[in-house]
């Protein structure tokens, strides 16, 4: 769920990176981007603001709605179709993201939010991995 920008070398900007990722997490849980992050692994279509569209498998969506897709069929504005192995769409250029019909939107949002909250509550609840505490439901 972390943005791809969090991979810089651990030199000067270490703390900036941490703050950035906290900021991104806060952005995510307070906007609909949280739903888009739940699309990871799904095949869907993204309509761009310049009238082109891209259909492929969602690799990652970050807090700024930058979308990374793979195995993409890209249709440009003129209708010309090409295949792209990997595609990164800048968030600003996204007009629509299609949500696959089979997805339960509320469940996806809730599940994504609970992941965020587990991360954030890690310290306050005495540490330890909550995943191991729970029995399967």
């Amino acid at each position: 769920m972390e943005s791809q920008g969090a991979e810089s070398p651990p030199s000067v900007s270490g703390q900036a990176e941490v703050l950035n990722s906290i900021r991104e997490r806060t952005i995510v849980e307070n906007s609909m981007v949280v739903l888009l992050q739940g699309l990871q692994g799904e095949v869907t279509t993204v309509d761009l603001r310049n009238e082109s569209s891209a259909c492929g498998r969602v690799v990652n969506v970050d807090a700024f709605m930058n979308i990374r897709l793979k195995d993409v069929v890209y249709k440009d504005r003129r209708g010309q179709v090409t295949q792209l192995q990997e595609l990164f769409i800048t968030g600003r250029n996204v007009r629509y993201v299609h949500i696959p019909d089979h997805m339960d939107i509320m469940k996806t949002i809730e599940s994504q939010l609970s992941k965020i909250h587990r991360v954030r509550n890690f310290a306050s609840e005495g540490g330890g991995r909550k995943e191991f505490k729970k029995t399967t439901k």
Binding site: N50, V72, T82, Q83
Partner: protein
């Protein structure tokens, strides 16, 4: 984007450097050179004085293309918002100097406010750039490096995302009161449940006062009230004792 003669390759924050890379700008081959994927901007130089750089906010998308039916060579495809070329060189030079500050842009549509942008984007004005490395295996690294750098340049015009979230998301108070699962800002309903005990008490008191002042109008007929009526301003001096005794039961009260 700038076509400059005197620009030097970046030395800091270079996430990826790819030599023997041909740059094709809008269909026109510029020759073979080195691509620099740096944190500040993307640039390419042919080593003989010709080069250009791209600002990440102007880049709409980038991709790895291995579809040789679309283009005969595997390459890194970059789509830039706005027209790039000699005509715009002067403006572009300004833009390059501004680094991430895109606010004064004219031609480049990526920076102005959301409403205005739509026109520019819809009108077209995009530039396609292809970087064709001789080492095709490097495409993944080139692509990934660009993804990382692109993520470092979020849209400054995106009003929703930035200003509200500067503070720490981990709030000590939240954790202590066990409300850690509530986001750092509250909608009306959420806010109620995240009040501290003191806040709750205050809210109840205020609501009580509000209810009292409203209820007075209906209580004047002698119904007992809990609180004294210090708030009453009409000079009638209706006090609790009087209310209890029902002295003013038949009074005609206008408020």
């Amino acid at each position: 984007m700038v076509l400059l003669k005197n620009l030097r390759p970046p030395t800091e924050g270079v996430r990826h450097e790819q030599a023997e890379t041909t740059a094709v700008l809008g269909g026109q081959k510029l020759g073979c050179g080195t691509l620099y994927v740096a944190e500040t901007r993307l640039s390419w130089f042919d080593g003989a004085g010709l080069g250009f750089c791209l600002e990440y906010p102007t880049i709409g998308l980038h991709a790895i293309s291995r579809d040789v039916s679309a283009y005969p060579q595997e390459h890194l495809y970059v789509m830039v918002n706005g027209k790039v070329g000699d005509d715009n060189e002067a403006e572009m030079a300004e833009k390059a100097a501004d680094d991430d500050d895109d606010e004064d842009e004219e031609d480049e549509s990526s920076s102005s406010s959301g409403g205005g942008d739509d026109d520019d984007d819809d009108e077209g004005a995009i530039t396609e750039i292809r970087f064709v490395p001789s080492d095709k295996a490097a495409l993944e690294s080139m692509f990934s490096a660009m993804c990382e750098c692109q993520a470092l340049h979020p849209d400054p015009e995106d009003a929703d995302s930035d200003d509200d979230f500067e503070g720490e998301e981990y709030d000590v108070e939240e954790a202590e009161h066990g409300h850690a699962d509530i986001p750092t800002f509250y909608t009306c309903d959420e806010g109620l449940s995240s009040l501290t005990q003191e806040g709750q008490a205050t809210l109840e008191r205020l609501e009580g006062m509000l209810a009292q002042s409203v209820a007075q109008q209906y209580n004047m007929a002698g119904v007992r009230t809990e609180e004294t009526n210090a708030e009453f301003e009409d000079g009638m001096e209706v006090d609790a004792a009087a209310m209890e005794a029902g002295q003013f039961e038949d009074a005609d009260v206008d408020h």
